[in-house]
């Protein structure tokens, strides 16, 4: 599978490493090249200094041939916009983004954008452990 990951922070670099280790073709984008140091030495994919909220930069990163796009920068709105570019402009088959704000996530689920909300998931896990 060819995957484009936007954001090479803790989650982005970890996901890139996991997919790369399983033999998938991974391209990871970030606006800060220092973040690429988080990728393991064995990483065989592509790390690109690029702003993924721009149609042209996503095209240059090869989004047109990708099977999946994942947006995990630290900012909800950047993730939401680039995921919608991938979905509605490039018709990328699988698009997932991270949205911290649970209310915003609800809205975008209703607009058919696949999102994961770590704050909600963590709160639920904590609640389960505390009340078990």
């Amino acid at each position: 599978m060819k995957v484009l990951i936007m954001g090479c922070g803790r989650v982005g670099s970890e996901l890139a490493a996991l997919l790369d280790a399983k033999g998938h073709q991974v391209t990871v984008l970030d606006v800060d090249s220092a973040t690429f140091a988080k990728l393991p030495a064995t990483f065989s994919g592509v790390a690109l200094l690029s702003d993924g909220t721009d149609e042209d930069s996503l095209r240059a990163a090869g989004i047109e041939g990708m099977d999946a796009f994942v947006a995990v920068t630290r900012e909800d709105n950047r993730n939401i916009m680039s995921a919608q570019i991938a979905k509605h402009i490039f018709n990328t088959p699988k698009v997932i983004c991270r949205i911290y704000d649970p209310l915003r996530e609800e809205l975008y689920q209703s607009l058919d954008l696949e999102a994961i909300t770590p704050t909600k998931i963590l709160a639920q896990m904590l609640e389960e452990r505390l009340t078990k």
Partner: protein, 220 residues
Amino acid sequence: MYIIIAGGEHIGYYLSKALLSEGHEVVVIDKEAKRIKRIEEELGSICLLGDSCEAGTLDEAGVERANLFIAVTERDEDNLVACQVAKHKFNVPRTIARINNPNNEVLFKKLGIDVTVSSTNLILEHIEEVVPTHPLTHLLAIQRGELAIVEVKIPPSSTVVGKRIGGLPSLAESTLALIIREGQKPQLPTLDTILEADDRVIVAIKPDQEEALCAALSCA
């Protein structure tokens, strides 16, 4: 009208000032207390401190009764999300977003934003107007960009010079609205109007017909 403005930087400030003076009810939302202070000192208590992308903030601003929501922060992604929340969660009838990257115009329209204003494109259009290299100048976009008012200058080399407008079937797709001729009163074109070199023709046209228009007037 009740109008909510997201973003209290320069554009938000001047926009709220103008809209207030036209008698509208205006609320400006901004995350920065210092920007809010500046606006309130001059325009009164019309601001709300908060994130205009958050449903809670919009709710507090009374977005449900807003007639118009305008997002003019400096970031395209924030303007997009704020408008989408206003539109899809609160059913605001009309949303306007400022965009910096002209590419985003298509995306924003696809995602249901009613109007986009691209400062980059506006400046480009003005450059087209003052730099005479381009035969076709955009004067105005109407009907949400589905129709454009353009000006075409007929070059002396054009094959249409000396011809009747009615004799040019290739112009059928365009509506010729006005002909401006140096030293004369602007005239309404008729089928019998004869085109002359250096005539400036004002045309209402669909944007995808622009190339065809240039070809029809042989000034491409």
